[in-house]
Every structure is written in C-alpha cells, then in structure tokens.
C-alpha cells in the first residue's frame, strides 16, 4: 500500500477531524484492536486533535501532532503504523514468518503461506483461528519486533491446509515509504 508514497504528489489534503467523528473513530479503534482505553489515551490524547491526511486511492492516514498513528483504506479496518506496533505489539493478533522470508517482506512482497507454516513461522492455534480480512502484526523468526502490518487474505486454518499462495498481504512494512516518513 505504501511501497511507493510521496507526500508531495500522493497527499491531497490535511483536515482536522470533527470531534464527533473522532469519537466514533476512537470507539472503532477500541473495538478493532486489543487495546485498553487508557493506553490509547496515551498514544492519542483526547486533547490532541486528530488530523486526517487524505491520500490517493482512498487511503486515509490519521496523524496526531504530525506523527502518523494509523491508516485506513476506504472505510475498512484501521491499521496501526509500524512505529505504533513496535511500541505496543499486543494490539493486533500476531503471525510469524520464518527467517528466509524476512528479506522478501522487506522488499515489499506479500506474505506467502509456506513462510508462515514452516518451522520458523507461527500461526495462531486452532481455537484462536483468524478469519480472512483480519489485520495482523507480522513478526519474524528470531526477532523481537514486528516486520510488517498486514491483512489476512485467507483464514489461518485455510493457510495451514492449502499452504499455497498469498496468506497475508503486507499493508505497511519496514523500510517502505510510510516508514521513511516520520512526520506527515
């Protein structure tokens, strides 16, 4: 999503978000992420106005004090930026890729099933299976911090079964253009 992203040409406008809309975003984020209100308050204080940065292809990035916090495509789920997920790794369900896959992910590839199902990879157990279309944090074998944030393209059980094709689509990854932007 952010493999190529230049603020000068891809951003069409900054607008402060109305407080009523902010409230609904806040409840949405709270229901979508595993985050308690107090922690969210710490990264996004109520007093600080949220700024909606409208980008090409219906991508909306939300910033507080110029720092991107989360983004959204059209009106789908909210994704935290990588810097947020580095600070609060537990807010999204985790999947793990094996070591061999890291360099491809860092080059912007989508995450294929075998990288998740092999020995170094990890998927949630059956009782915590994720459905297709869930935002996930992508972690890596032997690494502490997340390497990407993505959305599942098929259920985790289906990934284990078919073990082929795209499992998770990386929406933002380490080293993409959103990562390079510290402020927007």
């Amino acid at each position: 999503m952010f493999k190529k992203f230049t603020p000068s040409s891809d951003v069409s406008g900054h607008t402060p978000v109305k407080s009523s809309v902010q409230r609904s975003i806040r409840t949405n984020v709270l229901s979508q992420w595993k985050i308690e209100p107090e922690t969210l308050e710490a990264i996004w204080p109520k007093k600080e106005g949220l700024v909606h940065v409208k980008c090409r292809d219906h991508i909306s990035v939300y910033t507080v004090n110029g720092e991107p916090l989360f983004f959204q495509h059209f009106d789908e789920a909210f994704f935290p930026t990588l810097r947020v997920i580095h600070k609060y790794p537990y807010i999204l369900p985790a999947v793990k890729i094996d070591r061999g896959a890291i360099r491809f992910v860092l080059a912007g590839a989508q995450i294929m099933c075998p990288g998740l199902t092999s020995k170094g990879g990890e998927l949630p157990p059956e009782e915590a299976a994720l459905e297709a279309g869930t935002p996930v944090g992508v972690f890596a074998e032997g690494k502490e911090h997340a390497v990407a944030v993505g959305i599942t393209k098929m259920g985790t059980e289906a990934m284990k079964k078919t073990n082929k094709g795209v499992g998770v689509e990386a929406t933002t990854y380490l080293g993409d253009d959103l990562w390079a932007l510290e402020t927007l």
Partner: protein, 215 residues
C-alpha cells in the same frame, strides 16, 4: 546518547510479561510503550540492520553507540546461533545478497552526490516590458532546498512577489518579480536562511530579451 542507551536496555525484559496482563484484566492505567532502539544509519530497529543496505555502517554505529547490544547481535556466538536456524546455503545466499545490496546502495549514493555537485543553478533575467523584469531561478531543488520556503524568503527580502511556478519541461522554478539576479546570486553565495550549503561556483546568470514584435 545517554538517554538512548537507557531506553535500549529496558525493552529486553519488558515484553514477556505484558501479553498475559491483557488477558487477566485491563490495567486501570496506561501501559508504558516498549522503547525500541532504531538504528540511526538505516532507521530500522537494530535487529533488522542485517537486512538493510548499509550493514557495515550500521555495525560501526552500533559498536560506538552501544557496545553491549553490538555484542548481543554481532558477536560470534550470536552469529552461530543464527546459523542454526537457517540452512547453510540459504545463509550464504543471504550474505551474498546483502553484500550486493550494499554495493548497490553505495554506488547509488555516489551517483546522487555526483549529480548534486554537477547540477547548475540558472538565474534568468527575463524582460517583461521595457524597463521591467522578472527573475527566474532554476535548479535549487537539486540541493534539497524547499522551493516554497525559498520563494517566501526572496519575497520578504526583496519586498516583491515571488512564487513557485511549473516550467514547461516539467520542473519547478522560483519566479521573483523585479530585476534581482545579482542580489539572488549574492544571497545564494552567502547561504542565507534556507539557501545553505550550495556551492557558489555552480551559479549562472543568463539574460532573456523579449522579441520585438513591432518591427
């Protein structure tokens, strides 16, 4: 630097107990964020430096900034442990790739620098009507100058209008009202405000006269 080091030490024990705390019951207070030490060379968390395109420089930086962490990631034992998780061939390939990437990135940086040194700033004095001129300044963006800010600076310095306009070739230039070519050159040479760090010998002043339509 001292602050950064303190931060770097805290994350190691922190992550383990946290996930359970969520399950138990939501904490009444905000949970402190994990502090992540980012590499100042490649901006990645330090554990990902090995996949970046500047591993050698990252290593040097880390060794200076934080010896303990350097040993954690790049000591012989750590490298040995990593080998265990990946087949030898894959590891060799990875190393090869990294080296290649590094060389490529270096070449790219070199080329960019060369281009920067070779690029010219052209100041054009364009005749509008008989005694009136505008001054167009081209090529400032190659030196990392924010054109909008530079235009503002010119406008307030000369007390005239200055704007960023698109050129037919696709680039952008600053147009200042009035004949200020000499002054602009001086300003650039002195490096006032946002115009800092531009080599003075790359500036060229040209003149553009209007074609006489009456004759």
């Amino acid at each position: 630097m001292g602050r950064k080091q303190n931060r770097a030490q805290s994350p190691t024990p922190a992550p383990a107990p946290e996930p359970e705390a969520v399950e138990a019951e939501p904490a009444p207070e905000a949970r402190p964020p994990l502090e992540v030490l980012y590499c100042s060379v490649c901006s990645f968390p330090i554990e990902y430096c090995e996949f970046g395109s500047s591993l050698t420089r990252c290593k040097e930086w880390l060794k200076e900034a934080n010896e303990d962490l350097f040993n954690k990631y790049y000591s012989d034992e750590a490298l040995q442990a990593k080998l265990g998780t990946l087949s030898l061939e894959a590891q060799a390939k990875l190393e090869q790739d990294t080296a290649k990437k590094e060389a490529k990135a270096e070449a790219k940086a070199d080329a960019a620098l060369k281009k920067k040194l070779a690029s010219q700033i052209i100041i054009r004095r364009i005749e509008r009507t008989k005694r009136k001129h505008v001054t167009a300044i081209q090529g400032l963006e190659a030196f990392g100058v924010d054109l909008k800010k530079a235009a503002k600076q010119f406008a307030s310095k000369f007390a005239t209008g200055a704007s960023v306009t698109k050129t037919p070739t696709g680039g952008e230039e600053i147009v200042v009202q009035g004949d200020v070519a000499e002054e602009v050159q001086e300003m650039i040479e002195e490096g006032v405000g946002v115009l800092k760090g531009i080599p003075a010998d790359n500036i060229e002043i040209t003149e553009e006269k209007k074609k006489k339509s009456g004759e």
